[in-house]
């Protein structure tokens, strides 16, 4: 499994060939409850680290998805727009949100690895 990093806002990013795939963590989907709506960024959009990149909504909550790394959006996952339930079923798998060409790979160093993220969750 490729190296996966996590943010304190509960996004994950996995990098391959200079392209990062971003999604929300299983913990995040659990906190939201049944996801009913997803809004994704436009392909080609330039995002700075921490920018508001997408929106994910449950019946009672609306949450912004912040990109954990900067870059240009290259692809979005239309499948989760068409069937938002996928975010609940496979948050850290097939229900990725968007891919972006990394602007600054050094930003990955600011994120947590799996063990650190799991430890962080225990503090919440």
């Amino acid at each position: 499994m490729a190296d996966r990093k996590f943010s304190k806002d509960h996004e994950w990013v996995e990098v391959a060939g200079g392209v990062g795939t971003v999604g929300i963590t299983d913990y995040a989907q659990g906190q939201l409850g049944d996801v009913v709506f997803v809004e994704l960024p436009a392909v080609g959009k330039k995002l700075g680290k921490g920018d508001n990149a997408a929106v994910v909504e449950s019946v009672k909550a609306a949450s912004e998805v912040y990109t954990p790394v900067s870059g240009d959006v290259t692809e979005v996952n239309q499948a989760i727009v068409d069937d938002p339930a996928k975010v609940n079923a496979e948050a850290e798998g097939g229900a990725w949100f968007f891919k972006l060409k990394l602007g600054n790979a050094a930003e990955l160093g600011d994120l947590m690895d799996r063990a650190a993220y799991d430890a962080y969750l225990k503090t919440l």
């Binding site: 009913v36 709506f37 909504e57 449950s58 019946v59 009672k60 938002p84």
Partner: protein, 507 residues
């Protein structure tokens, strides 16, 4: 006939009658209104005359009466039972209010009649304004806002106009406590302000030091609900007002909970600059299933010149309606709605206020506070209150007493429904985990409160014994059981559409 949980052929259950949509019972050509024949004339509609049908269903009068009667029987209502929705103030709606609003000479007035023909209506607005100013101790009131939320817009727009009139364009921030109703930040944003949150202290009040640290020349004002959304009086309120004024800001008070203090405290004595009053909460105009409201805003002398048009003044020939942003309204910040305000709500509110009188309104506030404290005292040993009492008009509990039971605040609410009570407000304010916000209002008698308390106690007893499945299954006795809100949001069906025509067999 599809299967139904009651095992009846019709799906009906005694007095609870199933009712299809009007679109499922309409027949073309049938109507519930007879009209005289239209005289023959040459059309002057020009090129835009409608072609084709609209698709409205046709029902006769008896069908329509039965339709809405059956629908009404699927609703809970104040008329039927205790409705302790915290922050919503579901008090008795006197029927005299309804009779008065329908009087000829009030109900049939057109808003654009010559002012000489509506002197009684203008006098009524002026009288209500006098009562509101006297009860709040404020010098002015803007009567036109259509609801509390529009009243908030009115207050914040007046604040903005006042800063701009002083040439002060640098104030971009409105401070709002964490516990505030969502409308407050939404209002500030709708006026172009950004919102900064003020933390609460351990007593559920605004943290005065944290507030002072946030004040400065960038702050346009503060919006504070008092009594606050935790049902507590902000006992530092006078200091808060002084601090905000010292920093050059204005003090917006959200008057959603004014009903707790009418006749006991005048907000004007607390140093506020403006406050909206929800006539449907404090002054008994009907909630009507979600409106219409009415949200007059009392204003300090500093903000009064910026009040929106229209307003009523005393002129040489009687009352005068100022409708134009000129003359005495030269500084008005604009107009919020068509015509003059929610007159129908003014009539009802004034009827209520005159009925109670100054002594009765004070007694009503006292009884509302008494009832809430009675609930807090009688449930405090088995439920968990986040803040010590006394409370004002609503009792707040959190869900710590449910820890480990697998039962949620929502489950408790649904079980109350089967017991014949409308649930309290849940999960608000957001600063308290799993909040139960219980507002009994002055309209409930002790016997009803005792029954409510007995139900809550019995639910908690059963939870303690591990008897919880019934809570997850509740409600069982309602016209519909728990509804699938996820399905509704994922695949929105927001209107009826005719069934797709049966596919014609291929020729």
């Amino acid at each position: 006939m599809s299967q139904n949980p009651h095992g009846t052929v019709t799906g009906n259950r005694g007095l609870q009658l199933e009712e299809p949509l009007i679109f499922e019972q309409g027949v073309a050509g049938r109507t519930g209104v007879d009209l005289p024949a239209a005289p023959q004339v040459k059309s002057r509609l020009g090129k835009a005359a409608r072609k084709g049908t609209i698709g409205l269903p046709g029902l006769s009068e008896p069908q329509a009466i039965r339709h809405y009667t059956r629908l009404s029987q699927k609703n809970f209502a104040i008329d039927a039972g205790m409705y302790p929705l915290g922050s919503c103030t579901m008090k008795h709606n006197p029927r005299l209010n309804e009779k008065m609003v329908r009087l000829p000479g009030l109900a049939d007035l057109h808003p654009m009649q010559p002012q000489s023909t509506v002197q009684g209506a203008l006098a009524l607005i002026d009288t209500l304004a006098h009562w509101l100013k006297t009860l709040t101790g404020m010098p002015a009131v803007a009567m036109s806002p259509a609801a509390g939320a529009q009243g908030e817009l009115c207050g914040v727009m007046a604040i903005k106009a006042a800063h701009e009139a002083k040439g002060d364009h640098g104030r971009k921030v409105i401070l709002v406590p964490e516990s505030a109703h969502g409308t407050n930040p939404a209002t500030a944003a709708a006026c172009g302000y950004s919102v900064e949150s003020i933390p609460a202290n351990e007593r559920g009040r605004v943290d005065l030091d944290a507030l002072k640290a946030k004040l400065g020349p960038h702050v346009a004002g503060i919006m504070i609900t008092n009594p606050n959304t935790c049902g507590l009086f902000e006992n530092d309120i006078v200091e808060i007002g002084k601090a905000v004024h010292a920093a050059g800001g204005y003090f917006y008070c959200d008057g959603a909970n004014f009903n707790a203090i009418v006749g006991r405290v005048r907000p004007g004595d607390l140093g506020i600059d403006c406050m909206h009053i929800n006539l449907h909460k404090t002054f008994s105009t009907p909630h009507g299933g979600g409106g219409p409201g009415s949200g007059p805003v009392v204003l300090s002398a500093a903000l009064a010149p910026y009040a929106p048009v229209p307003f009523v003044v005393h002129g040489p020939d009687g009352f005068k309606l100022v409708e134009e942003e000129a003359g005495e309204a030269a500084k008005a910040f604009g107009r919020l709605k068509g015509f003059h305000g929610q007159m129908g709500m003014f009539v009802r509110a004034l009827t209520y206020m005159m009925s109670h009188g100054s002594d009765g309104m004070r007694q009503a506030s006292e009884d509302a506070v008494l009832n809430a404290n009675y609930i807090q005292a009688r449930l405090g040993d088995i439920m968990t209150a986040p803040f010590p009492g006394p409370c004002m008009h609503e009792a707040l509990f959190d869900d710590r007493f449910l820890n480990g039971s697998g039962v949620s605040t929502l489950d408790m609410a649904k079980a109350l429904i089967d017991e014949g009570f409308h649930p309290m407000t849940m999960y608000f304010p957001l600063v308290v985990h799993g909040a139960f916000l219980i507002e009994p209002t002055e309209s409930e008698h002790k016997a009803t409160l005792d029954q409510f308390i007995a139900v809550m106690r019995s639910l908690v007893e059963r939870i303690k014994k591990g008897d919880t499945q019934f809570l997850h299954d509740a409600p069982k006795l309602t016209p519909r059981r728990r509804l699938d809100e996820t399905l509704a949001a994922r695949k929105p069906v927001l209107r009826w559409r005719p069934a797709a025509p049966e596919r014609q067999a291929a020729e």
